[in-house]
């Protein structure tokens, strides 16, 4: 039925386009100059029909289920819902819905059968009503729009206004979604901090989120100090950046200034492919290749290396970040005007001196911006550390130890059966909020530096 509605809408919108265009052409054929081209008259009609009716269909699709459910529940005979909690009412509704699909357990009571029948008929009626409304609304808009066609009607401006509105709406989608996510994070984190004091969370040095779910379960009491967790993130991030920054920068410098064209033509696309490798594949690499190799080397040297080391996870993450940093630095170096390079070379500087003393300093703000963006990626990276880092939170900065990260803890907290009324689950939101604040801060700093750098040459 929804498909039918969309087809009717499309047909009427297209006919609106053709009608208005031919009307405008007819005016032109009569010797009068129209303000807008005939094409814009058609476009105006198309958009005028399409946009509002499309919105109506979307609203219908969103509201259909809750409204009909409400009507069915409201129409149940008196007394059956007495003394029921919200969860139990949902259960009744689910039972009724499964009856409409023909799935019954035993013989349902008559009132449930009646409600199921009512549900089915409501759905059918609603769809039919929607199709009729769509057709009628499109036709009415078409009629009014057709009457607007006149020589002096500014169809182009009108159509442009609608397109402008559409663009604003599209850009709002991303912003509103972000706002919604932040709101959800803050709300759930607030509920967490109602159960666990903020100070315990921010300055606690023990992270043991395994709390008893049932009253009789034997488990730890639970401790929610995030310091060991964020310390793990910092250790792994540091290892990653220590590997990615020098290698990425030297790669960029080589590609930008010293590499022959043929090398650049090969290496650059390969680096881009590297940045397209899914992080889960890097995770394999870390856990199956790097970690055993480190452990073996450690054993040979007589050093105790745990099997999930920060070094393995951070090292592989660093490799993941190399193309990110090198392409950012390459762009920054390329943005330095050629005249500066020529100026330096003409003074008898070597290419190395030119790079070191002129190009690199000039590009440094852009490079720093890129490195900071890489840092915020390292902090937020999940898959590699879930696979290669450990689960136990420890206050250690030894990269050969097993550490855990904020993202790993969020994943483990939310895996399996989760109840949204205990601090274990809600702790994930608190961690998520802290992570969000951290990366947001770094990103803002990075963007500021990058923007400042743009002002140097213009």
């Amino acid at each position: 039925m929804t498909l039918l509605a969309f087809m009717i809408l499309a047909a009427l919108a297209v006919s609106g386009f053709l009608l208005n265009r031919s009307a405008a052409l007819a005016i032109q054929a009569g010797g009068t100059r129209t303000h807008s081209l005939a094409y814009f008259h058609g476009l105006y009609a198309l958009l005028s029909v399409l946009v509002p009716v499309f919105v109506v269909i979307c609203v219908y699709l969103v509201l259909k289920t809750p409204v009909i459910n409400g009507m069915v529940i409201g129409g149940l005979p008196d007394g059956v819902l007495d003394d029921m909690s919200a969860g139990q009412v949902d259960l009744v509704l689910a039972t009724i819905q499964s009856i409409t699909r023909g799935q019954t357990f035993g013989t349902p009571p008559d009132w449930q059968l009646a409600a199921a029948e009512r549900l089915t008929s409501l759905y059918a009626g609603a769809d039919l009503l929607m199709v009729v409304v769509v057709a009628a609304l499109s036709a009415v808009i078409l009629f009014f729009v057709r009457r607007q066609v006149a020589a002096e009607f500014r169809a182009r401006q009108a159509a442009e206004r609608i397109v402008h509105g559409l663009m604003v709406a599209c850009s709002l989608v991303a912003i509103l979604t972000t706002v919604g996510i932040v709101f959800a994070l803050v709300y759930e984190a607030y509920r967490f901090f109602e159960m666990v004091p903020v100070m315990d969370f921010l300055f606690g040095t023990r992270w043991e989120p395994q709390i008893p779910i049932r009253a009789d379960q034997v488990a730890a009491v639970g401790a929610f100090g995030w310091l060991p967790v964020i310390l793990g993130t910092v250790v792994i991030g540091t290892v990653a950046m220590l590997i990615a920054t020098p290698i990425g920068l030297l790669t960029a410098i080589y590609l930008n200034e010293f590499a022959p064209k043929s090398v650049r033509a090969v290496v650059k696309p390969v680096l881009e492919i590297l940045s397209g490798v899914p992080t889960v594949v890097y995770g394999f690499f870390a856990i199956l290749v790097v970690a055993p190799a480190l452990r073996g080397t450690g054993a040979d040297l007589g050093i105790a290396v745990s099997s999930n080391t920060a070094l393995a996870a951070g090292g592989v993450m660093g490799i993941m970040l190399i193309p990110f940093i090198s392409s950012f630095a390459d762009d920054a170096l390329t943005a330095v005007p050629r005249s500066l390079r020529d100026g330096s070379l003409a003074l008898g500087a070597t290419r190395g001196e030119t790079m070191l003393k002129v190009l690199f300093p000039a590009a440094i703000p852009g490079i720093v911006g890129g490195i900071l963006l890489a840092v915020s990626r390292a902090i937020g990276e999940t898959m590699i550390v879930v696979m290669a880092a450990g689960l136990i939170a420890r206050m250690t900065i030894n990269p050969l130890d097993s550490v855990t990260t904020v993202t790993v803890q969020i994943v483990t907290l939310l895996i399996g059966d989760t109840a949204f009324d205990n601090p274990k689950t809600l702790a994930a939101f608190a961690l998520g909020l802290m992570l969000f604040i951290l990366t947001l801060g770094i990103n803002i700093l990075a963007l500021r530096i990058v923007r400042k750098y743009r002002e140097i040459y213009d």
Partner: protein
């Protein structure tokens, strides 16, 4: 401005600083310069004139091997500096460029302080052993570029903050600081206003005392004002080369005359 004074210039023979014989330049398959012979004299301003795309800038860039930095560019023929072939494999282009300085069309100060801009060359070539020596070189170079009085109180200010004319004189100071013997100038005034242009032209005339100056220019008035020798390029060939007074008053080649009088170009 006073174009009449060129006739008063004495015709004296000076020592030849740079000598080019049979120079050919190719950009990929394009034959940009065809068999050019030029003698650049010491303590002389030599002007290269000609219509756009005639190869005068390309030829200028051969004189300090800046064309080496362009991958597809190939240079053949002989260019000698003080009798030494600058395209000889034993010659290091880096050292050559310290001797043959260059000033570009658009002022291109580094995004560093005025002091560091000028000190850049002396530092990389190790011309100063102490800070005092470096200070002296910087001051001397800035004075020579006639910009010292304008910037002496703000040597730590960024060079990019100066006006266009000041930036160009800063670039000249920067080129002078490495102690070159030849100064190449690629349309040094084309991005400047008339007042800044006059200042730079005056400066070029003074620089002639110490250096051999080669200037590429689009403006024939400028060539007539500042140069003693003029070379006219057309379609990659050197059409005519001689005393500036002669080129502008009594050219031998009809193409030169057409260009001077504004019929081609």
């Amino acid at each position: 401005m006073n174009d009449m004074r060129l006739t008063e210039r004495g015709v004296e023979t000076k020592q030849i600083k740079m000598k080019a014989r049979g120079v050919e330049v190719f950009y990929g398959d394009t034959h940009a310069i065809k068999s050019v012979d030029v003698d650049i004299e010491d303590h002389t301003v030599t002007a290269f004139i000609g219509p756009s795309g005639c190869g005068k800038s390309t030829f200028l860039r051969c004189l300090n091997r800046m064309n080496d930095t362009i991958d597809i560019c190939r240079v053949t023929g002989d260019i000698h500096l003080d009798g030494e072939d600058i395209y000889d494999p034993r010659i290091d282009p880096v050292q050559l460029r310290a001797k043959v300085g260059m000033v570009f069309q658009k002022p291109n100060p580094f995004p560093k302080s005025i002091y560091d801009n000028v000190a850049y060359g002396p530092k990389i070539h190790g011309l100063a052993r102490t800070k005092a020596e470096l200070d002296e070189i910087v001051e001397k170079s800035l004075r020579r570029a006639a910009i010292w009085n304008e910037v002496k109180d703000r040597l730590d200010a960024p060079g990019t903050g100066l006006s266009g004319g000041q930036q160009q004189r800063l670039c000249i100071a920067r080129a002078v600081a490495t102690g070159p013997e030849v100064l190449l100038m690629d349309e040094p005034c084309s991005a400047l206003d008339p007042i800044a242009t006059a200042q730079v032209e005056e400066l070029i005339d003074e620089l002639r005392q110490s250096y051999s100056v080669v200037i590429v220019t689009h403006s024939m008035q400028q060539a007539a004002r500042v140069s003693q020798k003029t070379a006219f390029f057309h379609l990659g060939t050197l059409v005519e080369f001689g005393e500036t007074s002669k080129i502008f008053t009594n050219p031998e080649d009809p193409r030169t005359e057409s260009y001077i009088t504004g019929r081609i170009g």
